[in-house]
């Protein structure tokens, strides 16, 4: 019943703090929306300039969505690249090809380089084939009696199928599930941590401890009180991401909500715990670069499998590693609850440890 009194009080305090409420409910939606449009927008087509190019090669390049600008002569490649806002420049001199790349953005440059090389290789192969046919024809006409046929080799057709996603999968489809979990984690951590901190600094926690409330009732009161808002936030964020932003969701929506609720529980207990080691709101903020931001690196946005051994060890200590993994499994890969049960159990383990630690940390305030 004392826990209930605490929950009721937190509820009243929360609904009066419109700003905190807005931060918790609206801010994640805002950021998700921004990221969604940032990552799904089409990237601009690359522009290259060419000199002395074979018209076939130009055709090949154009087929690959490259904007080709032809020049008769160029004296200063560098200057032309800059002035005409080109991403690369191709100069054909006899048998040599000189490629100059601007390399403003390494990843798109790599893609452009690949496309150009493919075009040139394809064109070269075509030429080879026609040369060879011509050569064979010559031999045939000179030696008419020879039984001579040439098998033409058809290029093998590669048909691609995908286990997860499709050819239209964008980076955001992989990023989205992680972001949903990450924002739930981040905002629940922030709000709950600062709320309990306020209680510590204004002395009301001291006052609370002078009443016959048990330490664990305080911890549970906080978990449930803020948990209520965390549940609402989670549901809003998940529905918004899936129904409005249309983030890829192959598995069940309920599983997504379950994972996020467990993540919120971990964030809640961690926020309350860390607030014990902060003396002001600013000190609480100092935990963000230490505790919250590294979680993003290990949540699955960067592939953990390829990391150095010691980094993988760190990854396994991060709740978001399991959360991100489970969310990707459900939303992107479409796996079921059974496949993510170990992730969920580990997350619940984190929460349990933090809750027990919370009850212990309150001993600082009252021994019994």
């Amino acid at each position: 019943m004392r826990t209930l009194a605490l929950i009721k009080r937190i509820f009243f305090q929360m609904i009066r703090d419109k700003r905190a409420l807005a931060l918790m409910m609206v801010a994640p939606l805002l950021i998700l929306t921004l990221l969604h449009y940032l990552f799904t927008g089409d990237s601009a087509n690359p522009r290259i300039g060419v000199v002395n190019a074979d018209s076939q090669i130009v055709k090949q390049l154009k087929n690959k969505d490259i904007i080709v600008k032809q020049y008769n002569e160029v004296t200063n490649t560098k200057k032309t690249l800059k002035n005409d806002d080109l991403d690369g420049f191709l100069e054909f001199q006899d048998n040599d090809i000189k490629l100059t790349l601007k390399n403003e953005d390494p990843s798109s440059t790599k893609a452009l380089q690949m496309k150009i090389q493919q075009s040139i290789a394809a064109e070269t192969a075509k030429k080879q084939v026609s040369n060879l046919t011509h050569f064979m024809g010559n031999i045939k006409s000179k030696l008419p009696n020879l039984p001579f046929t040439m098998e033409t080799v058809n290029a093998p057709k590669v048909s691609t199928s995908y286990i997860y996603g499709s050819k239209d999968t964008t980076f955001f489809d992989i990023l989205g599930p992680i972001l949903v979990g990450y924002f739930v984690f981040f905002f629940v951590f922030l709000i709950s941590g600062i709320a309990l901190l306020k209680e510590r600094t204004t002395g009301t926690l001291d006052r609370l401890i002078a009443t016959p409330i048990q330490r664990r009732s305080i911890v549970f009161g906080y978990l449930l009180g803020y948990g209520l808002f965390a549940v609402i936030q989670t549901v809003i964020v998940v529905f918004y991401a899936v129904k409005i932003l249309d983030i890829m969701l192959v598995g069940s929506l309920w599983n997504v909500i379950i994972i996020n609720l467990v993540l919120a529980l971990v964030a809640l207990s961690l926020g309350i715990l860390l607030s014990a080691f902060a003396n002001s709101e600013f000190q609480m903020m100092q935990f963000i670069p230490i505790v919250i931001i590294p979680q993003a690196f290990f949540a699955g946005i960067l592939p953990v499998d390829g990391m150095a051994g010691w980094l993988q060890v760190i990854a396994k200590c991060m709740p978001m590693y399991y959360g991100g993994n489970a969310l990707q499994d459900i939303m992107y890969k479409g796996l079921g609850l059974r496949d993510i049960s170990s992730d969920l159990l580990i997350l619940l383990g984190f929460a349990l440890v933090f809750i027990v630690l919370n009850i212990f940390v309150l001993k600082k305030y009252r021994k019994i």
Binding site: M1, A5, R9, T202, G203, L208, P212, R366, K367, I368
Partner: protein, 239 residues
């Protein structure tokens, strides 16, 4: 059977010794005053008596129960030196919250909230949020919170700071009435005219009780008429 027994209590924070072998006894129906300058260790002693802090040495018993004890807290009304109130809630919500922590029934809650609010003259302001309260109003609400569960023992840390003389008088009248009901009241103060109103006094400085007794005894002992002088003399002796 004494209500509060403090036996040889010492407390150190690291190397700094804040309380040195403090002993005192408060009888039921007594108003016991702890007077001393700020930094003398009064608040630390009070917190140890409530059970919010632990003595490094010595024992404390309240109502024959060794402190700390969870169910004992049901019978202790505590008012902290700093107002510990939820400023985003109304006065009434603050009182109701603490009342439910003491597990008062709905009916009792209503009665006690009305009583406590009336006692500190806050009835017309109960629906206002505490952030709109003046310093004195917050102090009064803190006192009302301390009284909410009708406790046997009241421990008030500087209860009348920032309260105007008229209200201070009415609060003391109420403390006398509570005393007549047999309640035990421990008050800390650094206002000498309040010390005069206590049944017994202990003068604290640098974590030591300099002297104790009834106000009259103290004055007699030092041959002076005002407690202020007693305090200065007793303190001077130490130096």
């Amino acid at each position: 059977m004494a209500s509060i027994v403090v036996n040889q209590v010492s407390k150190s924070f690291g190397k700094k010794e804040v309380l040195k072998k403090i002993s005192l006894t408060v009888e039921p129906g007594q108003i016991y005053g702890l007077i001393g300058p700020s930094g003398s260790g009064k608040t630390t002693l009070v917190k140890i008596i409530v059970g919010m802090d632990q003595a490094s040495e010595g024992t404390v018993q309240v109502l024959d129960t060794t402190v700390p004890n969870l169910s004992l807290l049901q019978n202790i009304g505590y008012m902290a030196q700093a107002d510990a109130l939820y400023t985003d809630l109304t006065g009434k919500e603050n009182l109701a919250f603490f009342a439910s922590l003491f597990k008062l029934s709905k009916n009792e809650q209503k009665k006690r909230i009305a009583y406590a609010a009336d006692l500190v003259n806050l009835t017309p302001d109960l629906k206002k949020r505490v952030e709109a309260y003046s310093g004195g109003m917050k102090r009064r609400l803190s006192l009302a919170v301390a009284l909410i569960q009708d406790p046997q023992v009241l421990i008030l840390d500087e209860p009348t700071v920032g309260i105007d003389p008229e209200l201070r008088l009415s609060i003391w009248q109420e403390l006398y009435r509570l005393k007549d009901e047999g309640k035990t009241i421990l008050v800390t103060t650094h206002v000498m005219d309040e010390a005069e109103k206590c049944d017994r006094l202990a003068m604290v400085r640098d974590g030591v009780i300099l002297t104790s007794g009834t106000p009259a005894e103290l004055k007699e002992q030092f041959g002076i008429t005002s407690l202020e002088e007693v305090f200065l003399k007793a303190g001077g002796k130490m130096g």
